[in-house]
Amino acid sequence: MSLIHFDAMRLPDHCQELRKEVRAFLESEIAAGTFDPDRPEVGAKNADEFSRRVGAKGWIGMTWPKKYGGQERSFLERYVVTEEMRIANAPVRRFFVADRQSGPTLIRYAHEKIKQDVLPRIIRGELFFCIGMSEPNSGSDLFAASAKATRTDGGWLINGTKVWTSSAHIADYMIGLFRTSGSTKENRRHGLTSFLVDMKTPGITCRPIGQMSGQRDFNEVVFQDAFIPDDHVIGEVDGAWKQATSELAYERSGPERFLETYDALLALTNAAGAKPDVRVTVGIGRLVAQLHTLRRMSVSVAGMLEAGREPVVEAAIVKDLGTVWEQGLPHRVRELASLLDLEDDEEDAFRNKLDFELKIAPKLTIQGGTTEVLRGIIARGLGLR
């Protein structure tokens, strides 16, 4: 009857048991000095080894088929692992792209040989992926991509440039979109093909691009006659557009899409103490209510995915609301914290944390699908387009 559905999904007990296990693991990692949850900007000392230990726990590709080394566990269990990693500021970057996005794409569309080769290594935490979508002249309009793949003996030669490719400079593989023929009049999305690109292939150069937040994981990746073997084509030649929707549902549904600046709320609650003034108390209550609601929506989407549905609109709504919320959060926290009377060192610590969140905020509604694109998807789901 309603245009939009969100059930009151509750995580089952075994998920909450798993949560305890993940927390215990992360606490031991923190105790061992692998990373500092309060200083995520510093990064981990040894993220590679952390990846392998997470892999050993069975927490990478945990929903994937057993025949590739996966555990065939539920999306809800994966959800819990993702949440706890995010909240602890664990250094997940080495495996998270593959876990969230690249692995599921390969499972659906890659050659069997590739799956058998690559998936077990992802699961062990040994492989690091990046995503080659955006180009200098195609941002949110992925189908305007012009980097080309042309046929050659036994494979393809790729040429062109990808930008804003996170972590390309340290990734083992990229899954990238390349033009294999022109778009057609009937279908402007025709003509693009998805490829698995070994980043050690000769002819690939990465140039890091600094960000205003001080982070340096953006890259410009230039391809000059880089050779990709035939079996590295993912899915249908010229038909990558058919694969786009289901891929993005994964990307949009996770808790990482509204918890990005959670630390700001944590820092405020911490600084406020047990009995802050009514302004701060009301402000914290309201932010918690909003966050709780976003999480309930996000868990609900995870439940739909688990039930085999494709909640495209619901996932877009969670991401739209979630990213707008997490973008505003540091600003709301700043206002509420304004009249707190902190000691100098408390204030320095709080300010450092808040400044970082304020600096990353602008990109939260841009990366992985802008607000404009998401609202277009929601509008289509409402029957307006």
Partner: protein
């Protein structure tokens, strides 16, 4: 939701569509629809869904009841169906029997308190009591030396000062001066939040009504945008309208999720659990927040016609504005929730959220 729950809710939806269609109500401009509707609700037992069967009710599940209430919201219903369910629920929690007919509850504002004296009489004042002047019985939560009790009171035994909600539904001041209840009994539950059960349950009920009404104004707005032509095309084709309706969709989704989660929590968790306070507070806050943005967009899309009393939109808008104030507004619940969170401490925030 199980299949049988769905059946009850579907029945409610059908009865409301047949007998309380907003378009018909707006056209007729009289109250003639109310009596047949109520007879029908009563006949099926929807009005006392939450009173147990031994107490004269239908003994439906909490989930079913919230489903009925959501449908009442979707109809912008201006009769005390939600209040009667709530009254039946409260009677049931003290083992009392429902008298039949529409009822309401008091107090509904956090700052109003009623007392029960040693002789069992109710005293105090409750303001903004919904539909008090339309019902024969009030179910009140009153505090005596032994703690909170539930009392069934005849409206005729109280002094009423009539008032109106934004939607012109009765919201009356009820004065209790040594009122002897028809029945009374101690609340069955114990624990620190027993005195707040009515406020918590009422907030969850209003959240559900808000979610239902918002859902409906999304439908209305989408439909209108597809019919209305401006600058030579349906306004649904303008990107600005599409994005506004997408935002409205987001608010509807947030309200529906928050309300459903709170309802589910009440069905499965004690009110004394911190999780219950989190869930109910969050639902009332988030649903109430959605009202300003949601009604704003609906009116913007409808233009002038939505502002007339000939169009049904205002029935939704004005009740939404009224419901967000009742059983604690978002500021009240934010204060309560903020106190809970700060008292527990920052490191306990995530575990609480993650426990749900």
């Amino acid at each position: 939701m199980s299949a049988s729950e769905t059946l009850v809710v579907e029945t409610a939806a059908r009865v409301l569509a047949d007998l309380a269609d907003p378009q018909t109500i707006v056209q007729k401009r009289d109250d003639a629809w109310k009596a047949p509707l109520w007879s029908s609700l009563q006949e099926i037992g929807l009005d006392l869904a939450w009173a147990s069967e031994t107490a004269g009710g239908a003994g439906a599940s909490l989930g079913d009841g919230f489903g009925i209430i959501r449908e009442a919201g979707r109809a912008a219903l201006g009769v005390p169906l939600a209040e009667t369910l709530l009254a039946g629920w409260l009677l049931d929690r003290a083992g009392l029997t429902a008298p039949g007919g529409p009822m309401t509850v008091a107090p509904v504002r956090p700052k109003d308190h009623l007392t029960l004296d040693k002789t069992g009489r109710v005293n105090g004042q409750a303001r903004m009591v919904p539909f008090a002047s339309d019902v024969e019985h009030l179910v009140v939560l009153a505090t005596g030396d032994e703690g909170p009790s539930v009392a069934l009171v005849r409206t005729a035994d109280c002094k009423l000062k009539p008032g109106k909600s934004l939607a012109s539904d009765a919201r009356d001041t009820v004065e209790f001066a040594n009122v002897l209840p028809v029945h009374r009994a101690r609340l069955k539950e114990s624990g620190g939040r027993e005195k707040d059960v009515l406020l918590l349950m009422g907030a969850a009920v209003r959240a559900q009504q808000i979610a239902g009404a918002l859902d409906r104004i999304l439908e209305l707005s989408v439909h209108y945008s597809q019919q209305r032509v401006a600058f030579e095309k349906p306004i649904s084709k303008f990107q600005a309208i599409q994005h506004s309706l997408a935002r409205l969709g987001g608010e509807v989704a947030a309200a529906a999720s928050a309300a459903a989660s709170a309802a589910d929590t009440i069905a499965n968790t004690s009110f004394d659990d911190d999780a219950a306070l989190l869930e109910v507070a969050a639902a009332k806050i988030r649903c109430s927040e959605a009202v300003e943005v949601g009604t704003g967009i609906a009116h913007q899309v409808h233009g002038a016609i939505g502002f007339t009393d000939e169009h049904i939109l205002h029935r939704f808008t004005l009740r939404l504005l009224s419901w967000r104030d009742e059983f604690g507004d978002e500021t009240f619940w934010s204060l309560k929730l903020g106190e809970l969170i700060t008292a527990r401490g920052a490191r306990e925030l995530w575990p609480l959220l993650a426990s749900r």
